[in-house]
Amino acid sequence: MDAPVPPVAAPTGRPNGAPDREVVIEVRDLVVGFGDKVIMNGLSLDVYRGEILGFVGASGTGKSVLTRTILGLVPKRRGTIKVFGQDVDNLTPEARKAMERRWGVLFQQGALFSSLTVRQNVQVPMREHLKLSQELMDELALLKLELVGLKPEVADRYPSELSGGMIKRVALARALSLDPEIVFLDEPTSGLDPIGAQDFDQLIATLQKTLGLTVFMVTHDLGSLYSACDRIAALADGRVIAAGPIETMLKSDHPWLRSYFHGERARHLTAEAGAGR
């Protein structure tokens, strides 16, 4: 965006010594709950333009809930959420629609429309939001499928005929179909084999470089955190307990973070990362 960025007194989420980069998602003092259960309790988080933010937390701490709250699918009790500097609560329906065109979402289960073919799935946002010739839409759909590493033959299959990894890829192609500025990925590599997951990480990184994407990625995959993410935010007790690059996570004293990043599975990754440097 060309408008100057208002200085934000960020209590959390800002990396140490990071330059004043543009904040594209700003969450402040968020409270979300269902019934008696409070999931988010005063959560604050910043996501900067052009970064890949990995969002970690134990199962059931509400990582997906945060994503869904930012997207407006879950009502919040308190707090503000600003995306592209606009408060999501004070949007006219047109502005809201314009904002939705600027983000893409990959849901955990893919959420492909089962009655449409892969090609039609990828074309849904184009058809709704853009005026394009059918020929160009077909080409673009095939191009997006190719970008996410799928063969053109897949285009005329239905989602029920795809494997889990292919569903994720098609869902990513659909999320990217309008060339969004932010993509939300909810556990993109869960259910993929390690090679597939690695490819996926590389794909995200390439797309982020070429398209200038901002990526908000909920993940459990340590490999993704090491290889793809610029910054990591950790969620526990309804708050962001730490945010920063992987080194910050490794230094943290929080017991959950210690067991997460110094556990059996993390150790060899840390060793590899150390050797690589």
């Binding site: 965006m1 408008a3 592209f84 500097g85 606009q86 502005a95 314009a98 065109r101 089962s114 009655s115 184009m126 853009l130 005026k131 394009l132 010739s133 160009l136 080409e139 673009l140 095939l142 191009l143 997006k144 190719e146 970008l147 053109p152 033959e153 285009a155 005329d156 239905y158 989602p159 029920s160 005929e161 990217l176 309008l178 060339d179 390439t206 470089k209 070429t210 398209l211 200038g212």
Partner: protein
């Protein structure tokens, strides 16, 4: 903050310099400018006509995305295909990477094979006939495995899932009592009103009691109940089993060594077989009551006269004809619902299709079975 409104549209300025044409692109070549991008690209190929060298200058492009890059590279390759020289200039690093990633190429997809309409219709008809045959075979084999499952339960009663059956008994039986008694009451009223209205012309008003009694007990009660249950519980069974099929829950049962017929189908069908005669009985009562009320208010037939005539018009066999049919209706409805549920494939659309076809087939079969019973009872003079 809405950039789509603020920002300049995608456009192209052409500078001719002898044999060289320089296309200077300005604005945002992105998907929110899609229409302008497509128009700009066709203008570009048209304007490039006649030039030997075409330079595509992107230095003034504000933003480029995959759509813009694809359209531009497609235009470039079209110009090259005409035998002209064409290339991009003024690229910064991100744009270069993007154009490299999104290089134009054919996808080499085969066009779908076209069939003639006649062949399509014939193959549809053939497919439907084969499908109907498969349905019949599938139904018989399903009935066989159901009977086998009941047999196993009789031998080993511990396999019988009483909790599940009681749960379904509540859902299909108890919870449908209000609606079934209500519609039966209303239909009883309507039949009585019409009967009185027509019979009055012959001075035969009291015979309306015979009409209501025989019609309700023999046919109406069981038909209304069966049709209501087909719509209400048959659809629910198909949807439940179908969504379990979609989420691989049925496969999970199988690999754990549990028979889905025993676990899911048998309790549902047994619950239906128990519930339907009871509901039919209640429906009979409600229908007779409705008829009695209208006969009294509209036809002036007092309760004593109504009951007296009713007693002489119907016998125990009139009641039994209706009740005997009920368990068979239950079996038909339950089997169709469960077969359709098992036939659900992966998609939500297929679930919807199977639920519809479950209800339609069940109601159709209920009426066919009722007709068969009518012929049977007539021939044995019951």
């Amino acid at each position: 903050m809405n950039r789509a409104v603020m920002d300049p549209v995608a456009n192209v300025v052409v500078e001719r310099n002898g044999a060289e044409a320089r296309m200077r692109f300005i604005g945002r070549w992105t998907s929110d400018q899609a229409a302008a991008v497509e128009a700009g690209a066709s203008k570009l190929t048209a304007e490039a006509q006649g030039a030997e060298r075409v330079l595509l200058d992107l230095s003034a492009v504000e933003r480029l995305d995959t759509l813009g890059a694809w359209v531009l590279d497609r235009a470039r390759s079209e110009i090259v295909a005409r035998g002209q020289e064409a290339g991009f200039v003024g690229l910064d690093e991100p744009k270069r990477i993007l154009l490299h990633e999104v290089a134009y190429h054919e996808f080499g997809l085969k066009a779908p094979v076209q069939h003639s309409a006649v062949v399509d219709i014939l193959s549809d008809v053939g497919g439907t006939v084969v499908g109907a045959g498969r349905d019949l075979v599938g139904g018989v084999s399903f009935l066989g495995s159901l009977v086998a499952a009941f047999g196993r339960m009789l031998v080993n009663p511990r396999r019988f899932r009483i909790t599940s059956m009681v749960f379904h008994l509540e859902a299909v039986g108890f919870r449908s009592v209000p609606i079934i008694t209500l519609i039966s009451f209303l239909v009883g009223c309507i039949v009585a009103q019409q009967g009185i209205f027509q019979l009055r012309r012959f001075g035969a008003t009291p015979f309306v009691v015979d009409l209501i009694g025989i019609l309700t007990l023999r046919e109406l009660g069981v038909l209304l109940t069966s049709i209501m249950i087909a719509g209400r519980s048959g659809s629910a069974f198909t949807a439940e089993i179908g969504s379990m099929k979609m989420r691989e829950e049925i496969d999970a049962l199988r690999v754990m060594g549990l028979d889905p017929i025993e676990v899911l189908v048998a309790p549902r069908i047994l619950a239906l077989i128990v519930a339907l005669p009871i509901l039919t009985f209640l429906s009979n009562l409600a229908g007779l009551f409705g008829g009695g009320v209208v006969s009294w208010i509209y036809g002036g037939i007092s309760q004593e006269v109504f009951l007296g005539r009713l007693r002489s018009a119907i016998a125990f066999n009139t009641f039994m004809v209706g009740i005997i049919k009920a368990p068979f209706m239950a079996l038909v409805i339950g089997m169709i619902a469960c077969i359709e549920g098992m036939a659900v494939k992966g998609s939500a659309e297929s679930l919807g299709r199977q639920v519809t076809s479950s209800v339609v087939k069940a109601i159709f079969m209920v009426i066919v079975v009722d007709g068969l019973f009518a012929m049977f009872f007539a021939s044995i003079n019951y």
